[in-house]
């Protein structure tokens, strides 16, 4: 049974850490569906959000192998339903007079913003769940997509009522 899991990993902010962590995934044939890295409030600590999929034993091994890395401070894992996930996407599309209104309407429906524009191109920004991002891409496939940049999924566990 393949399942998806999100690993929220805090690591020492040292050179080479990203390659150590990503190298671990390739070396042991673990999947990386997405990977996002950034600094935390403590500049000595970085946060990585890794989305992976596999069978139960693989998903457990990923957590254990991550914990084994000496630069890894903490590993938290969640299923998709246990956390709030967001992804940021920038998408450049080519437009013309006939579809401009339609594009703007789609953006409004999807709560996306147009952040840059020229005579023939516009850049759309959307920040939403990974599912919505996928939907957005599908919707725009009929319009000509020129370029896409995505951050990968960022996740934090949900605010528990008992917290």
């Amino acid at each position: 049974m393949k399942a998806k899991r999100i690993y929220s990993v805090t690591v020492e902010n040292r050179s080479g850490v990203l390659s150590k962590v990503s190298g671990l995934f390739s070396r042991r044939s673990f999947n990386i569906d997405s990977l996002a890295v950034g600094e935390t409030d403590d500049p000595a600590v970085s946060s990585m959000t890794i989305v992976s999929s596999g069978d139960e034993r693989t998903l457990e091994q990923i957590e254990k192998q991550l914990n084994k890395k000496l630069d890894v401070i903490k590993v938290k894992t969640y299923g998709e339903e246990q956390c709030v996930s967001r992804e940021l996407m920038l998408m450049k599309v080519k437009y013309n007079k006939s579809n401009r209104a339609e594009i703007m309407e789609m953006c409004e429906v999807m709560k996306a913003d147009i952040v840059d524009m020229s005579l023939h191109y516009m850049m759309i920004q959307i920040c939403d769940t990974p599912e919505k991002i996928r939907l957005m891409i599908n919707m725009f496939k009929s319009i000509s997509i020129v370029e896409i940049a995505r951050t990968g999924t960022l996740s934090l566990s949900k605010c528990n009522t008992n917290d």
């Binding site: 020492e12 050179s15 150590k20 190298g23 070396r27 091994q61 254990k64 084994k68 000496l70 401070i73």
Partner: protein, 539 residues
């Protein structure tokens, strides 16, 4: 003080006695500074063997072995040795010289990204960026290498750091690593479950891996087995933990192990796996062997538990601490009938060899040799048929150590490892047993024995083939041999006489005992060539 002097001082603080290595420009400041120290240096003849020698040293002295090599090819050459140590969890601290910091990344002469290259074979690695970090890094490296699941740690030191000035040298007294705190004590709830399952069991078995020796838990595990009369088997890396004559010992498991040891594992209702990885050569079908059984997996590395076999009771902890705890608990285990059953298997399933009388029979020879070895002898088996014969037939006494490259199976391990083992404890008898293939992979080290004035006792099983591969081709490719004939090999008598070794030869079993006696008694360096039937099979 410069960085290189600080590096030497760090090694002194760690009580290091020997550094195995090979110089080059990028490590010259270090080797210049070490002249001022009492630390002895051993010049191996190729870098890979520096790591093997340090491994032999570490395994006998229970402290990390230390090597120092130069940048570029020196560093890449040592990788196989590091990987060998990593696979068997042997603690090493490997120092590599590196090109000047500001040249890193520009592909200058003898530059190699060694921290990148060894990432999957080390427990941790450092690229030193500031000479003032050296004391902390060395302190951490020794701590990481020799605690938890042991393993190699690499420190890459650019030449400008070695020559850089350290204003204030202070060796830290303790380490503070927030990301590294290995679990020592077993979880008490898990220990309760272990007690419950063992009490329910009528056919328990303890499978001992290399972790028992590495965790110095031999006495505790043996005492536990003896107190409750639980039978034991070992993996290849576990050989040496239990004396062969022990009435609760039922041999080595695995595809090259004893049939009755494997039968014992299959028939058991509770398996206590201690310091073992459940690797493919020991347990070929981990999911089958654990079906309808309780698997208690005790290991200091949480990632090993559940990796290859799903365990019913995972117990993370240091083997010694866990067994000390288990020894204080009350158990109600009765396995008299089970032992009788196992003794019957041992009789029924004892493999019978049909030796060719024209050659030396490996079984008879190893039996004779190891019976004659002293109680505290160190027997180092190389890789190949010689290793499997050694595992199957070596007589292990109470304090015998049996070393081999189990995880990686690196040919050429035994000779450099013997050098390190002998230096670790010169009072111990050390014998390296290799094949004619593995001998030719490390025969350059005969000179190192001469130069370092370390006594060498080397036994070469000569069958003119890479026997293990030939055996595989015999079964798998119906005797279509490819790349396995060792034609062109040197005359060993002439070869070792060039190094002023004494030479002994045994063509068949006649006079076996006398030749072994003379070889072992010899005060000089000695090599014994043993002629084996080229068509002999381990199975």
């Amino acid at each position: 003080m410069i960085g290189a002097e600080a590096m030497v001082k760090c090694l002194e603080q760690e009580g290091v006695k020997y550094v195995f290595g090979y110089p080059g420009v990028a490590i010259c400041p270090f080797y210049n500074s070490i002249l001022e120290s009492d630390i002895k240096t051993v010049l191996v003849r190729t870098e890979q063997n520096a790591a093997h020698a340090a491994s032999g040293f570490a395994r006998i002295s229970d402290v990390p072995g230390v090597c120092a090599v130069t940048s570029g090819p020196g560093a890449t050459n040592i990788i196989t040795g590091i990987a060998t140590a990593y696979a068997d969890s042997i603690p090493l601290v490997v120092i590599t010289g590196q090109v000047k910091s500001d040249l890193i990344g520009s592909d200058v002469f003898q530059e190699a990204d060694i921290t990148g290259a060894v990432e999957s074979f080390v427990k941790y690695s450092y690229l030193v960026k500031d000479a003032d970090d050296l004391p902390r890094i060395f302190k951490e490296a020794f701590h990481i290498a020799n605690t938890g699941r042991k393993g190699p740690v690499l420190i890459d030191v650019p030449i400008d750091i070695q020559n850089g000035v350290i204003r204030n040298f202070k060796y830290p007294e303790s380490v503070n690593l927030r990301t590294y705190k290995p679990t020592v004590k077993g979880n008490s709830a898990q220990i309760k479950k272990v007690i419950k399952e063992l009490n329910k069991s009528s056919k328990p078995i303890i499978c001992i891996g290399g972790g028992v020796q590495l965790g110095q838990a031999k006495d505790e595990v043996l005492k536990f087995a003896e107190t409750h009369g639980i039978p034991m088997v070992t993996t290849m890396m576990g050989i040496g933990t239990v004396p062969s004559s022990h009435k609760l010992y039922f041999g080595m498991v695995g595809n090259n192990g004893k049939p009755y040891a494997n039968k014992a594992m299959n028939e058991a209702d509770v398996i206590m796996m201690v310091g073992a990885r459940v690797a493919d050569r020991a347990i070929s079908q981990p999911d089958l062997i654990t079906r309808d059984k309780v698997l208690i997996h005790i290991d200091v590395d949480p990632a090993e538990i559940g990796k290859n076999a799903v365990s019913s009771i995972p117990l993370v902890g240091d083997c010694k601490a866990v067994f000390e705890e288990l020894l204080t608990q009350d158990f109600d285990i009765e396995c008299g009938e089970w032992i009788k059953e196992l003794e019957r298997y041992k009789k029924e399933l004892k493999p019978v060899r049909k030796p060719n009388k024209k050659y030396v029979d490996p079984e008879g020879f190893i039996n004779e040799l190891t019976t004659k070895l002293k109680d505290k002898a160190v027997y180092i088996a190389d890789v190949g048929q010689n290793q499997i014969f050694s595992c199957a037939h070596a007589v292990i006494k109470s304090n015998t150590r049996f070393l081999t490259s189990g995880g990686m199976g690196t040919m050429g391990y035994s000779i450099p490892a013997a050098l390190g083992a002998k230096l670790a404890d010169p009072s111990r008898q050390v014998v390296a047993v290799c094949g004619d293939g593995s001998f030719q992979m490390s025969m350059m080290e005969l000179a190192t024995f001469c130069q370092s004035k370390v006594q060498a006792k080397i036994i070469v099983f000569n069958n003119s083939y890479l026997g293990m591969v030939r055996e595989y081709q015999h079964y798998t490719y119906k005797d279509n041999y490819s790349m396995v004939s060792l034609d062109g090999s040197p005359n060993l008598e002439k070869l070792v006489s060039a190094y002023d070794f004494d030479y002994y030869r045994l063509a068949d079993m006649k006079g076996c005992s006398e030749v072994i006696d003379a070889f072992l008694k010899d005060k000089k360096n000695a090599l014994l060539e043993v002629m084996i039937d080229p068509m002999d099979l381990v199975k």
